[in-house]
């Protein structure tokens, strides 16, 4: 066995132990959903910073974004403005939600929507959207782990990585079941430390060995321009709209995902969240530097077909790091995928247990925690199935298409935080139309995340999520006006 895979196994083994030990952290009664799913809502600024950083920066950051930059050039860098403007959105939206949720004991977005609009149908719709949108996002985490296993080879890569992934996920499911949110919160400290060490090492070592940034960019430009489908390290004017809509749509959807909400509600106070809105962009800087590794791979002459583009980061580690340190870097990616996957499972399971099987009531129904724990296991299994049966052009499309579904709760949830003016029936109709529009556009483009709209003699290619949100808002607002009119 290579020194790299020993380091990887040792680190993953250590965090697994940590995951089980986390059950004792704070000596809580884990039969309470508040304790199991939200860590007792007691996390301070530092724990929350690690937890939110560990939760929001996932295999998307380490694997999918560099792969997209490697594949399509400048357009892939949209993730940087996305990860920038997500925080102003968070400061305004989440702090308000946190306040209302703490006052009324909400655990999920659907709890809030139920209470505000008094609509059971809308509650179920919001909850199911979160569950369904979480699955492709968890699948993205698995796909990220798979790239590492493929790189290490041997037993890890046997049978397309399925046995290794299954083992990793069974362990994940077991400690999440046992310890709840405390497991990823504790593991996040290890994860984020490994990630910072790896990215700083990569960004110092790799471009230097390649002859400096200037060479990295000029070599990338040459490779991208010479491809059968040429692209560039700069945007074409026709891509401006695509770039902006992908960044804006992703930023609006980031914090309404169930896993974001779960970590946010675990914060102790509003101040904790407000400070974190200003401190978390440090992780976005990492994301930007990681994105540039896509170009380092181009300059290093790594030549992969589109279907294997996700492998660029582990390949770079192998090529430029000593073997043991490549093991550390690989562990950073694997643990970096396990932490958010655990929180996504918890968040989705909360929605199912609290808002689909049961309905929101201030006194949590008995047995809810047990249902949530069992559903965590089901979420893991469902996501494992997705990556083996669904093929997308780039793994990032998992997240982008999930985001298109997720964004359809925006009118009910985010607008609902400030106004009761919208009618729940109209919101439900808007939600349904938004979902149908998302799915139709995704289907028409072969599960691409962008759709070209032809109108007024021109064409505009933009992020499906935002087009669908516009449909949703028109129906929600228009429907409200019509329903009000008919009541008079």
């Amino acid at each position: 066995m290579s020194s790299g895979s020993i380091v990887l196994l040792a680190l993953v083994g250590a965090v697994t132990v940590l995951g089980f030990l986390a059950a004792r952290w704070g000596g809580a009664n884990l039969d309470s959903l508040d304790e199991w799913a939200l860590g007792g809502r007691r996390f301070g600024t530092i724990v929350s910073w690690f937890l939110l950083g560990g939760d929001l920066y996932t295999a998307y950051t380490f694997i999918a974004v560099p792969a997209l930059v490697y594949g399509v050039g400048a357009l892939g860098f949209f993730a940087v403005p996305y990860a920038t403007i997500a925080y102003p959105v968070a400061l305004v939206v989440l702090v308000r939600f946190w306040g209302i949720a703490r006052e009324r004991g909400y655990l999920t977005t659907a709890d809030f929507v139920r209470d505000r609009f008094n609509s059971r149908a809308l509650e179920i719709a919001i909850a199911l959207t979160g569950v369904v949108a979480a699955i492709p996002y968890i699948a993205l985490q698995l796909a990220g782990m798979k790239t590492v296993f493929a790189q290490i080879g041997g037993g890890f890569n046997a049978h397309d990585g399925l046995p290794a992934l299954t083992v990793a996920f069974v362990l994940l499911a077991a400690y999440t079941y046992t310890s709840g949110l405390r497991a990823p919160a504790l593991i996040a400290f290890v994860k984020d430390t490994l990630i910072y060490v790896t990215v700083i090492a990569a960004i110092v070592v790799i471009p230097t060995k390649l002859g400096g940034w200037q060479h990295v960019f000029s070599a990338s430009q040459a490779v991208l321009a010479a491809r059968p489908k040429p692209s560039s390290i700069f945007l074409a004017p026709a891509q401006y709209f695509t770039y902006a809509t992908m960044a804006f749509g992703s930023a609006l959807s980031l914090f309404i995902y169930p896993h974001s909400i779960t970590s946010v509600l675990a914060a102790k106070s509003k101040e904790v969240l407000r400070r974190n809105a200003a401190l978390l962009p440090i992780y976005s800087l990492l994301l930007g530097l990681l994105a540039l590794l896509g170009y380092c791979a181009l300059a290093a002459g790594i030549n992969l077909p589109q279907s294997a583009a996700s492998n660029v980061v582990p390949l770079l580690f192998k090529q430029f790091f000593p073997e043991w340190f490549a093991g550390v870097a690989d562990a950073a990616v694997v643990i970096g995928a396990l932490v958010p996957a655990a929180i996504m499972c918890i968040g989705a399971a909360n929605l199912f247990a609290s808002n689909v099987f049961a309905q929101y009531s201030p006194e949590r129904p008995p047995g809810e925690t047990r249902t949530a724990k069992l559903l965590t296991l089901a979420m893991c299994a469902a996501s494992l199935a997705v990556i083996f049966f669904v093929r997308v052009p780039y793994v990032i499309d998992f997240q982008l298409l999930g985001g298109a579904l997720m964004l359809q709760i925006f009118p009910s949830f985010v607008l609902g935080l400030w106004t009761r003016a919208l009618d729940p029936k109209a919101l439900l109709a808007g939600w349904a139309c938004g979902l149908v529009a998302s799915c139709a556009m995704a289907w028409a483009t072969g599960f691409n995340s962008n759709f070209t709209l032809h109108a007024f003699g021109g064409s505009l290619t933009g992020f499906i999520a935002l087009y669908a949100l516009v449909v949703n808002l028109i129906v929600s607002i228009g429907g409200t006006v019509l329903l009000r009119g008919s009541k008079r």
Partner: protein, 64 residues
Amino acid sequence: MSKRNAYWLLVIPFVATLFPFIYNRAVPALFGIPFFYWYQLAWVLLTGGLLGLVVYLTRDAGDV
């Protein structure tokens, strides 16, 4: 003027990053990194700083 007006500062990062024609060019480069890239990376940090400022200015102002 209400302290809540400080939240309007948060509009700046949206304008600065969502209109790529502002920054879609190579020069001036920084350490060999084209303007397109370092400009957007700089806005990650500037936005963090701006958020810190807004959090400070609105510390007693309540929600938006």
